[in-house]
Symmetry: C2
Subunit: 337 residues, 2 copies
Amino acid sequence: MVAATKRDKKNIQASIQPLVELTRHDMLAVNQLILAKSGSDVEMIPEVANHLISSGGKRLRPMITLAAARMFGYDGAHHITLAMAVEFMHTATLLHDDVVDEGGLRRGKSTARMIWGNQASVLVGDFLLGQAFKMIVGIGSLNCLGVLSNAAAIIAEGEVMQLAVAKRMETSEKEYLTVINAKTAALFSAAAEVGPIIAGRDDTTRSALANYGTSLGLAFQLADDALDYSGSSDNLGKNTGNDFREGKITMPVILSYARGSQDERLFWKKAMEEGEHNDAALETALMLMKKHRSLDDTIRQARHFGEQAHRALLPLEASQQKDALIETVDFCISRIS
Amino acid sequence: MVAATKRDKKNIQASIQPLVELTRHDMLAVNQLILAKSGSDVEMIPEVANHLISSGGKRLRPMITLAAARMFGYDGAHHITLAMAVEFMHTATLLHDDVVDEGGLRRGKSTARMIWGNQASVLVGDFLLGQAFKMIVGIGSLNCLGVLSNAAAIIAEGEVMQLAVAKRMETSEKEYLTVINAKTAALFSAAAEVGPIIAGRDDTTRSALANYGTSLGLAFQLADDALDYSGSSDNLGKNTGNDFREGKITMPVILSYARGSQDERLFWKKAMEEGEHNDAALETALMLMKKHRSLDDTIRQARHFGEQAHRALLPLEASQQKDALIETVDFCISRIS
């Protein structure tokens, strides 16, 4: 909604709509499969899963899988299963993340852990992951299995890494990029790469889509980081500073800290490490980000990865899906620029 | 140690030693692989993993995988990887279990969650699961992947099921068997079934080993349930009643409740659902179990599944491994009889 409003204002923005339109038919099948596979005789499983699945994420990852298969003329049914598995892996990560972050809200709704407890979040996450792998095995493609199991291992490693760097103001730009590469970009990369795999394309094409996904994931996350601090100047301010209030150390904070004076660093340490993050502190944080151009530079980095995502698709033949995937990159970045 | 002491006393008991001896050489390779694959640049991962892996479990599951491959003349190296993956899956389950049970001790040591927090337990569990699947994919056997991913899904479903039945005294015998079938027996079954798969044996042999594993798992769990209440009459008493104090509803409790008077049921509800489980309550619980022969009947059920495990292996050709697997069943049951 933020993006749409901004886009309407500027009227020059990229849209996710072409991707949505191109995958609309397939996404109906994905949604049906999601409902079928999150069903269980154990009552709590569909309850928890549906709570999260129906809470209105953009479903960017499964749409990418669908487009990345169709753009190479794939006309089987495995892309539906893969898209479902990718969304289940993502949902499982969110459920486990909420336990780890001790999060109370996600997408404006209470998190599963607040309603059903940590236990259910851990176990339903495990259940969705188990279902995802069972379904992927059913497809019978060892290459798809390799890509997705590798992503699962990288995501988990990234989560532990984040736990170690979280609340540590000395986290470097490079360390942070490593974390979001594992936590966010790895699944985008896998979601894109499985498309050419089931379409029977060669390694060069696989790499192109994998690189597209990685770069898109990094651009997406950095744009998100900037977006969280950039709503203050208009009426969208109520969502500003969520990361700040949760003490999440993201790129704008890392840049501000690295460029800050002794006093400023003390402020950041108090805010992020010791939890002094009231509204006055948020004002100060926004002022320091402006002073050091931290948001501008985060957006600049997002654009850099966006360009990499464009370049990755350059060698591929023209198609509606290719155009839609390229516009999706611009859309992710346009949310904040 | 409990078993060894009892065995020495009676001098007629079965031993796990033949299985240990037959798999000793392979287990060295498994242990090396475990150490290598729980390594990570992220410091916390090997710390947490090693804490649990080195805490002295019997490693029954990987030994079963090794024996179940070797008994069919398998002479490749995949059984080592599979045994490692099975142990990682088991360890991941323990880590997530501890978060779910809010457990403080496991095998007499502090649980990972007490030392590193819930977060690390959730995420390192995910990491080990991710590593396990990456390694299994590397073997390239879709049949092994099918069996193990199916087990992962069943285990997760079983955990959620247990969450729903936990603290509910009305849990029936049948419901409880369904839970332990999913939580415990599914992994024993998968651990045994992958042996004949990589050895290239037919479906009948696969089923035989799968059935052996399932029955052994059920026998093992029921024996464990009884063991937890049966140390009072000798010097092993300090470990008696752990399940009781944790409010875990196991078979002896279910039988005692089902057979109890109104007053007795009130006692069980207070103890298990409301947490009144001091030493005096434990004495009462033991008395009621004796009165209703709940331990005897739990042991009787364990023996029944033990016999099923024996029968499953009956059609197979003779081998040292077969003998060792059969004696392992008897060993699991002999711990309490």
